[in-house]
Symmetry: C2
Subunit: 405 residues, 2 copies
Amino acid sequence: MSGLKSPVSSLSFEVVAAQGEARAALLTTRRGVIETPVFMPVGTAGTVKGIRFEALESPELDARIILGNTYHLWLRPGIETIKACGGLHKFIGWDRAMLTDSGGFQVWSLGALRKITEEGTEFRSHVDGSLCFLSPEISMEVQAALGAEIAMAFDECAPGEATYDEARRSMELTLRWAKRSREAHELLQKERGSSPTPGEGADADETSALPARQALFGIIQGASHLDLRRESLDRTAEIGFDGYAIGGLSVGEEKHVMMEVIEDIAPRMPADKPRYLMGVGTPEDLIDAVARGVDMFDCVLPTRNGRNGQAFTSRGKLNIKNARYAVDERPLDESCECSVCHRHSRAFLRHLYLSGEMLASILLTHHNLAFFLDTMRRVRQAIRSVQFAKFQREYTEQLKSGLES
Amino acid sequence: MSGLKSPVSSLSFEVVAAQGEARAALLTTRRGVIETPVFMPVGTAGTVKGIRFEALESPELDARIILGNTYHLWLRPGIETIKACGGLHKFIGWDRAMLTDSGGFQVWSLGALRKITEEGTEFRSHVDGSLCFLSPEISMEVQAALGAEIAMAFDECAPGEATYDEARRSMELTLRWAKRSREAHELLQKERGSSPTPGEGADADETSALPARQALFGIIQGASHLDLRRESLDRTAEIGFDGYAIGGLSVGEEKHVMMEVIEDIAPRMPADKPRYLMGVGTPEDLIDAVARGVDMFDCVLPTRNGRNGQAFTSRGKLNIKNARYAVDERPLDESCECSVCHRHSRAFLRHLYLSGEMLASILLTHHNLAFFLDTMRRVRQAIRSVQFAKFQREYTEQLKSGLES
């Protein structure tokens, strides 16, 4: 099952503990060591919305890797600007690891898609309406210029309710694009070998002796059809990538369908490579997926829901707009050690939210990211101390106990 | 000139150095020592917009006192909520000193004023359009409940271009209201003596032996008419306050008119009490006013302009939207030591601003506040080392040299 023609990896991935399918590992990049299972905050346009990098780096959050969106950055400020400013890390001022998606999902989800051809996808920019074209080759070129430690193959995402035929057609296209992505990526890495990408070198954290080569992950598609998913996995692994992602989930399908796919596919993914579940999910989803062998996650929930007044807590979701919090002097989560819960009451946060104050978004985003990142820290500790099953049971019970109990 | 019947002050104010009219002093409150001249960031609705309290408290900014707006907090969340949550400090989670304005200026500036009578002002809430009434007595009651270290007398603000007769009528009303403010405040402080205001006591920084009594500042009006201003000052000082403010400036009059008023009035204000210039101004304005004897300032410029993409720098204002900054890797201000200038380029900040990212406001607000607070720190050092005139000359020259030189 391990990749044929596997390139010399620029990542090292070492499983250090396992319990059932759950595993704790060290993912080492040229910009530091990432302990997995890991949650990656989403930094769409070069910023994790509403939070400063200093907070992401603080011991309280300690995000070791963030995600950047190729689609958004390609459209604005554009690759020439980012290149002129020394690559994405230097442009935004973030020295830790990054992963960039391929842009395929955004073309699909932002809905301005015009046409999919064998060559690539034609769509209208959500920024200025101009006609754009993205292909595996262009995505690889853009991602190489961005210079994240991990790039993603360019894929097509079928909707959750895709029929078998639709899902197969989409999966086959994704496989052809995966091969083209891999080939284009290899060429770019060779070019990079002879002329270093800006932003690498002196600025990089060269604690490891890993090659400067950007890693590339392949993406498994196939909607809710398990045989397609398995075929997608096998044929993607044959192409050979530095890691593998499950794409096309949390896109409209029911939750039990999502979990069936994860349960079937994650344990079959190459055990010696990171397994990344894209765009998922709630804290429960993360823990359920860890139990099935997933190592990496990204999701907009903590940031987006924070901006919309929703806090994630150890006892479930809290809607700060609710009148019951008007004079509630308790923190968002009485079990939370974050700086927001240490300092501010639900009453104050509700007031900020209802007054349209930016600080509401800032504080709820901070708490939610602290909660997600702390949950993953506890997940890692539980796996390392062979307490994961107990942790999962207790965590889930507490979530279900509710805020008002 | 010093106040008759002056109450036992809850503040101590000690001038420690002077050069010309400029003076450096220590203003001691029950929540810490404030070195003056001081700039107070504006925290309208219980938050200095776009910045966390942790940043305001950091050594980089070290804001010792912030302003809260009585009008805004009274309308939302309302005094009952703030009382139920233990007073304003406890409600918002800020342990350092605060000053609340009286609400008079907001009634005027937010423009929903219905009617001014001898009794007070009737207006429509900017939150829900309901009919509201504010008077000296109500303002004092609200400010006592908020529990800031410094409250302001309830005044009426005449427009900058007010005629002599209009300005006199307004000034006379403000004087009658000042007397009523003082009387209502005294009564409330006596009540407070017998039953401590929530939020005081255990939570307060009781490093000083000052009484728990809230301080009250009087406000000098009279528009641009110097004889009215002098009369307003004399008669306000006769009533006797813990400090004195110049109100009704930066409300539409020309800058030279504002400076004439400050130049004439500030040096005549009681020398043994803090002198506060309300709602002013740019860094140059602050320094010009310090040179004329002013100790305290508040202004929305660093926060509001930050949100609108304008940075204050040692070489003048910088509009981050400008295309010339598209690939400019320099910080906002090459002389600035703040964490934003340390980390982020103009190119990145411009990208954030054009992308509508909240982080643009967060970072520009932080830089602008750092710049204002650092300017005041340098002003204090200059006065203490008898270098103020030199400092003022050099600071102004650098401002005028421009960003592109």
